[in-house]
Each structure stands twice: as structure tokens, then as C-alpha cells.
């Protein structure tokens, strides 16, 4: 008898209600900042948990960051890893792109927003590090499937508008990692209601980078002492130390062509 809607609700009202619902859910959570620096893209989340991540590796040059409901964005992260790994396995690793994944996420979020009983209460960033900062790509996706191609800096979550406004004034291309992280943390620590800035130490942050100087897998988490030094004003450290031992193989899907430093055989006949 009571199946379906008892009263008429206009599509405009329905969409607005859903959007309000999603926005409220997202605003409750702590924020995430994604920003470019000279050697890559940095992801900074206020997240005291060591195991429930808001930032994750998707593929060789692609990472994911999210705010909102953990189970929902975790579901999307896993789907993204499956998408990327299956695509790279079927074609080549170089055929997996952030743009393709952002499109797939956009379709999924859009479909859920209009067709499911409730929208996803999430906002996500899919970023891909390029050979130089000009080629970096940062896509921001909202709960309704809208995609924005962002330049340089994105803030998501609770007071993201104020954070983004403050940070955009100060962000410029070519920051060192230390400068970028200090800027992001200052943005996250700022109290939008006008109170004093909070003190966000390394323990309450989740930080990762896509480091273009690394070969193959560029994603790297930064924590502990290195994060402490990068965030400290006195410490001269301005980037993560290069890894002396990098990936043992090159970014090719075919095992035959992935040995490092393997020149073509000079005389193969």
C-alpha cells in the first residue's frame, strides 16, 4: 500500500535534499589537503588513526584521497585499485590514467546519487604525478559525480572552502616538500570560527606523496622522524631522502621488458 512516495516531491527538491544530506555528512569529517610541490604531489590529512587511511596508493603514478564516510570511500578506493590493476594487466601499466579512473568514479558517484536510496557521503581526489609539475593532474570528485580538474591545490572536508581560500593565496608552483607540508598543516590547523590555531603534530597527521623522482611506484607514505623534520621550522630538511634502493623493475606489464638497465641486445641475429 505505502510502497513508493506517499506525496509528490519535485525532482529539484529531491536532488537538493540528497545534496544537503551528503554535504552534512562530509562537513562533519576532518579535512584533507592535496597540493603540488617541486618533486611531486603531497597529500595531507588530519587523521590520528595509523590504520584507517584517508590516503591510498592506486597505481604507479596515481593516488587517492578522500573525506567523508570511511566505509564508502574505502569501497571506492578498493574499486579503484581493482580498476587500475585489471586495466594495467590487460593492456600495459602506462595505459592506466587518473583521467580514466576519475571518469569511472564520476559515473559511479552520479549513478548512486540519482538512483540509490542515499548518496555517498564522500568527496575524493584522484591525482596523477607527471614528468614535471605542468603534467601533474588533480581531479576532485564530489558526492553527485561532478568532476573538477584542479590546478596546484585542493582542500576537501569540513571547512574546506576557508582552507582552500587561505592556501590558494599562499601556494605557488615550485614549493619544496617542507614548505608545501607546512602550508597544508597551517591550513588544516586554522580554526574557521576564529579561535586560535590548533596544534597539529606528526602524530595527528597522515601524509603521503607521489614523488616523481622515484621509478615505477611513486607513492610513498611519510611519517615518524622524517615527517617531524619536514614540519619543523628549524630543521633544514626540505624533501624526503632519495631511496638508495628503488623498485627492482621498470614500469612495464610484460615481465620480459621490465629488467632495469637492460639495453637491447647489440647483435641479436
Amino acid at each position: 500500500m505505502t510502497a513508493g512516495m506517499p506525496f509528490y516531491v519535485s525532482p529539484e527538491q529531491l536532488m537538493k535534499d540528497r545534496a544537503d544530506f551528503a554535504r552534512k555528512g562530509i562537513a562533519r569529517g576532518r579535512s584533507v589537503v592535496v597540493l603540488g610541490y617541486d618533486h611531486g604531489i603531497a597529500f595531507v590529512a588530519e587523521n590520528p588513526s595509523r590504520s584507517l587511511h584517508k590516503i591510498g596508493e592506486i597505481y604507479d603514478r596515481i593516488a587517492f584521497a578522500a573525506v567523508g564516510k570511511y566505509n564508502e570511500f574505502e569501497n571506492l578506493r578498493v574499486a579503484g585499485v581493482r580498476y587500475a590493476d585489471l586495466r594495467g594487466y590487460s593492456y600495459d601499466r602506462s595505459d592506466v590514467t587518473a583521467r580514466g579512473l576519475a571518469n569511472a568514479y564520476a559515473q559511479t558517484l552520479g549513478t548512486v546519487f540519482t538512483q540509490e536510496s542515499k548518496p555517498y557521503e564522500v568527496e575524493i581526489v584522484v591525482a596523477e604525478v607527471g614528468q614535471d609539475s605542468e603534467a601533474d593532474q588533480i581531479y576532485r570528485l564530489t558526492y553527485d559525480g561532478s568532476v573538477a580538474d584542479e590546478r596546484g591545490l585542493v582542500a576537501m572536508g569540513g571547512a574546506s572552502d576557508q582552507i582552500e581560500e587561505r592556501l590558494t593565496e599562499q601556494w605557488r608552483p615550485g614549493l619544496t616538500l617542507a614548505q608545501a607540508l607546512q602550508l597544508a598543516v597551517a591550513g588544516l590547523a586554522h580554526d574557521p570560527s576564529g579561535g586560535p590555531d590548533r596544534n597539529l603534530g606528526a602524530d595527528s597527521l597522515e601524509v603521503a606523496v607521489l614523488d616523481r623522482t622515484r621509478s615505477r611506484r611513486t607513492f610513498r607514505r611519510i611519517n615518524g622522524d622524517i615527517l617531524g623534520s619536514l614540519l619543523s621550522d628549524e630543521d633544514p630538511t626540505d624533501d624526503v631522502p632519495p631511496v638508495d634502493h628503488d623498485s627492482p623493475r621498470q614500469a612495464a606489464s610484460n615481465p620480459q621488458t621490465q629488467r632495469h638497465g637492460d639495453e637491447p641486445t647489440p647483435d641479436a641475429d
Binding site: S51, H53, G56, E57, I58, N75, L76, V78, A79, G80, V81, R82, Y83, D85, L86, R87, G88, Y89, S90, G100, N103, A104, Y105, A106, Q107, T108, L109, G110, T111, H245, S247, P248, R249, S253, N254, P255, Q256, Q258, R259, H260, G261, D262, T265, P266, D267, A268
Partner: protein, 280 residues
């Protein structure tokens, strides 16, 4: 069938809560991509390139794996610079003997399997976990193996829990066995094993282990026509990979070449590599 519905969103299976195994996900969602799912018509046999000899040996602080570069098809040399030893993740390597095409596809799947788990779970799989995953893939290939398309890998990696390099061998039914000190698979393995028995010393350095492995491959090539010796003319050297607590890496060709030269000098007028006096 396209692996990803282009233009559409992520297929529902992607969003389903499931295991952290890429192979299980592919088997359910895109089964045609699993190498062992392709059966041959009953009774059919085909000629396909075969990879030959792999040797692996432990040393103080890790484990080494080396392979010759030859693939054969009957009496024909199908490929003379094939890679048969692969880094499967940061801390493990696999070497393959048997049907080359299937084996390489299996390695490719295994590499994605390990990385997929690492990304989904946020942690590395244990060394025994990796060895067991490989066993289940080999087990899945039994039907093909019975039609002559067998794949016999040997797996080695650094065990952080115990602080040492470990070796795992397999049979075609997916049996997984831990080997101690050294092991070899492939058509020249009998000769390589004999050589390693005589050359192996506990607590060797990695340099000594390189020499032992390359010399064992030399002995395999000496007596097995399917195993390729170092090709001095074309400068094709065995693939040599090391795994230590710092990770897996390949030894560059210009480090392997002098080892080969030293063996050639030593074997001059001493074809069997007899040790006398000081080298005994």
C-alpha cells in the same frame, strides 16, 4: 569483452566487498584473462618454446637466483636472450622453467597479485603467504600441464621475520616445498645441482654466490643442449638477481661479465672445473 565498461561507471563487482586477491577477482569477473583457464582440445599437443635452467642459492644475508637465457622448441633455439628470472615484488624473485608463454603470463599475474594485496591491505604479504599463492596458481594449471604445457617455478625471497633468504620449489600439481641452501629447476637442473653440491659453502658472500650460480649454469649448459651458456660473441649473460634485507635487485651485465671471464680462464685446459690445491 572489454575489461572496463568504457563510458560507464565501475561495474558492480568492483564495489563488492571481496578478497584482497587479484587472481580471485579476475577469475570471477574476467575469467578469460586467467592463463590456466584456457584449455586445449582433448588429446591435442602443441610445440611451444620451453625455458630451461634456473639455479638459486642462499648466502649470508640473502638469496640469489640466476637463469640462462635460452628458450628451445624441439631442436630449435626459439629465443637466445629471454628473461626467466623476475622480481615479483620488493623482496622476492621467481624463476621459471617450462612452457615460456604460460610461465611469463603466470609471473605477470603473480606480480600483480602481490602488489594488489599490498595496496588493498596496506601491508606486505608474508614470504610463506607469497609462496602459497604461487602454489595455488600452479595447481590451477594442472589441466594444461597434463597436456604438456607445464610451468615449474622456483621462488625465493627475504624473510624479514627470520632475517634470512629462503627458497621454495614446486611440482606441477602445486606442491610447495622449502629447499635448503640451493636448488635448481629445468632441463639442465641435474647438472647444475651436482655442481652446486660441490661449490656451495655455508655463509658465502653475495659475490661468491654469484660465482657459484654462474658456474652451475655453465655446467648445466655443458651437458644439456637446451641450456644456453654465456654467449661471449653477443655478450648475452645469465640473468642474476639478489634478494637481501634491502630488497631485490638485478646484478648489472658488466658485473656478470667478469665472473664469466674468470670461469672461462679457470676452465681453460680444465673443462670440468676441477679444483686443486688452494681452490679446493
Amino acid at each position: 569483452m572489454s575489461p572496463v565498461a568504457d563510458g560507464g561507471g565501475l561495474p558492480a563487482a568492483y564495489l563488492r566487498t571481496g578478497s584482497s586477491s587479484f587472481t580471485d577477482f579476475v577469475a570471477e569477473h574476467e575469467p578469460h584473462l586467467i592463463p590456466s583457464r584456457r584449455g586445449l582440445p582433448p588429446g591435442a599437443t602443441i610445440d611451444a618454446p620451453h625455458g630451461t635452467t634456473i639455479v638459486t642459492v642462499t648466502f649470508d644475508g640473502g638469496v640469489l637466483m640466476a637463469g640462462d637465457r635460452r628458450a628451445t622448441m624441439g631442436n630449435i633455439i626459439a629465443n637466445r636472450d629471454m628473461e626467466k628470472v623476475f622480481a615479483t615484488d620488493e623482496f622476492s624473485v621467481v624463476g621459471i622453467a617450462g612452457t615460456a608463454g604460460l610461465a611469463i603470463e603466470l609471473v605477470r599475474l603473480f606480480q600483480v597479485e602481490l602488489e594488489h594485496y599490498e595496496k588493498i591491505e596496506g601491508t606486505l604479504m608474508s614470504l610463506e603467504g607469497k609462496a602459497n599463492r604461487l602454489a595455488s596458481m600452479i595447481r590451477g594449471n594442472l589441466g594444461m600441464a597434463m597436456q604438456g604445457l607445464s610451468v615449474v617455478p622456483v621462488f625465493a625471497g627475504y624473510d624479514h621475520q627470520h632475517g634470512l633468504g629462503r627458497i621454495f620449489s614446486y611440482d606441477v600439481t602445486g606442491g610447495c616445498y622449502e629447499e635448503h641452501d640451493h636448488h635448481s629447476v629445468g632441463s639442465g637442473s641435474l647438472f647444475a645441482r651436482g655442481a652446486m653440491k660441490k661449490l656451495y659453502r655455508p655463509d658465502m658472500t653475495s659475490d661468491e654466490a654469484v660465482r657459484v650460480a654462474v658456474e652451475a649454469l655453465w655446467d648445466a649448459a655443458d651437458d644439456d643442449s637446451a641450456t644456453g651458456g654465456p654467449d661471449v660473441g653477443r655478450r648475452i649473460w645469465p640473468t642474476v638477481a639478489l634478494v637481501t634485507a634491502d630488497g631485490a635487485r638485478f646484478i648489472p651485465d658488466d658485473t656478470v661479465a667478469p665472473v664469466v671471464d674468470a670461469i672461462i680462464t679457470h676452465r681453460h685446459g680444465n673443462a670440468g672445473g676441477r679444483r686443486d690445491g688452494a681452490d679446493a
